[in-house]
């Protein structure tokens, strides 16, 4: 199967620091591909480079393709309209706007927003339409951030640490939703919670010091205790939970 996304020799330099150095990997057209690595290895920078959000002072080199289409040098709003959905780290909901306004912002001219689908996944968003997004709990904000993206058809979803800072029960709920989402659209996921990775991911790409250190089957990686410890800095206990 042709990959939905291919990243070749991607290098990102920001303020003189080489964050990414020749990163290459592909994302399968179905299921979840997880991007792993210790803190600061460039996972978020990779997602932001793909969606065109590298800071203006940054320098991006290499090739990024979604299908046959080159993504580099295209403005972010065009990439997103072209089917690249992005759920950022820390949710980034608009705190001063209501839940309904956050969702309305994601509507696109000429397309019918899939409110039925979003409210079926997150009934709470429907009930809390008039509530300011800033007053939602972390889990509810995460649901809003994901729901906002799912209003439109996507060819690929980039999801950055969706379970970060959430209570265990909410982590399970978010994982369930992503599992259902991944049935219809491929997902490139950055995730630190290895239990979530075990549940969702089929393929894994591990970054270390701005380079690809390992690629392959996610479950094989998690079975290799010594490998996960050296690449991710976690032991077997954390992998199993």
């Amino acid at each position: 199967m042709e990959p939905i996304l291919s990243v070749e020799d991607l290098s990102v330099r920001i303020s003189g620091l080489h964050i990414l150095q020749g990163v290459s990997f592909t994302v399968a057209p179905t299921g979840v591909t997880v991007l792993l690595g210790r803190n600061g290895v460039g996972k978020t920078t990779t997602l932001r480079a793909i969606v065109g959000l590298t800071p203006p002072a940054g320098e991006v080199r290499g090739t990024i393709r979604m299908g046959a289409q080159s993504l580099l040098a295209r403005p972010t709003h065009r990439l997103v309209r072209g089917g690249l959905g992005y759920v950022p780290e820390d949710r980034c909901v608009f705190a001063g706007l209501t839940v309904a306004e956050n969702l309305r912002l994601a509507e696109r001219r000429g397309a019918t927003p899939a409110y039925d689908k979003v409210f079926a996944l997150f009934p709470e968003l429907d009930r809390r339409g008039r509530q300011r997004a800033g007053s939602l709990s972390g889990g509810q904000q995460q649901m809003l951030a994901i729901g906002r993206v799912l209003l439109n058809d996507n060819r690929l979803l980039l999801v950055d640490e969706p379970t970060k800072g959430l209570a265990p029960k909410v982590v399970t709920e978010v994982a369930e939703v992503l599992e259902r989402v991944a049935e219809s659209v491929p997902v490139l996921l950055v995730e630190q919670n290895l239990a979530v990775v075990r549940r969702l991911a089929r393929d894994a790409v591990v970054l270390a010091a701005g380079k690809v250190a390992w690629t392959g089957d996610a479950h094989e990686l998690l079975l290799e205790t010594a490998l996960t410890k050296s690449l991710l800095g976690v032991g077997s206990a954390e992998v199993k939970h």
């Binding site: 969606v51 959000l53 403005p75 709003h77 608009f94 705190a95 001063g96 994601a106 696109r108 906002r148």
Partner: protein, 296 residues
Amino acid sequence: MGTVILLALTGLGLAALYFLVASGLSLVFGLADVLNFAHGLFLGVGAYGTWWAAGNLPGAGPDGFGFVFAVAFGVAAGTLVAILVELVLIRPLYSRTIEQVLVTVGLSLAGVALLQATWGADARPFPRPDWTRQVTGILGAQVPNGGLLLIIAAVLVLGAILAFLRWTRYGLVIRAGVENREMVTALGIDVRKAFTLVFAIGGAAAALAGALGGVYFGTVSPGQGGSLLIFAFIVVVIGGMGSVVGSAYAAVVVGLVQQFVNYYGTSGLGDICVVGLLAVVLLLRPQGIAGKVATA
């Protein structure tokens, strides 16, 4: 009592003028992070556009519908200049703060020089309807109609901006963009169109301030925009960058403080008090009255 009413209403007239200039300035900074020192130019263009139209444009004049037409021409000219400034000079410089400051400061200086070269450096009498030269008795105070006109215009502009921010798609984009511009683009929205729009809104409000400021002061001069811009910046900082409602509150505070202190203290002391107020706000509440929120 009559003196207090008069000072309060003339102070509110001044506040209205500051608000008209500051509202656009605040939205532009809140959304686009642009400190637009050329904003006074839009005011100058509005004032001179109205002044020129009243004397030269067929159908326009100093009275009745002709005056409304002249003001509309001045506002349209100010809006057009604001749009051109954004598209031609500011757009290539987003995220380059120092260059933006240099360009907008240079433009404001060049704009004043251009107005001086075209119509001279001296203040010129501003064409205005007779009723704006008269006064209205309110609770024993004889209040100039020009000031009341400014207050009414500012209230209408405030209502229109808030309705626009609250009820329209672009208003929603602007409110969201003031919070997190990057995330707006990540939802597939071309935020640059909103930048142009806030420049247009700000330019129109400043040009209206120029036209009605001409009525209020009775004259128009090339440097008028620059001197008002200083107080408008103070209003924006006190009100909170990006907040139209915050700018309205701050404009009222600044206008009243200036008017009362200048009257009961020494002339000029009010201006110093306003700068002192700015310092206090920066020390105690640096985000301003409302913080960085495009209130609707």
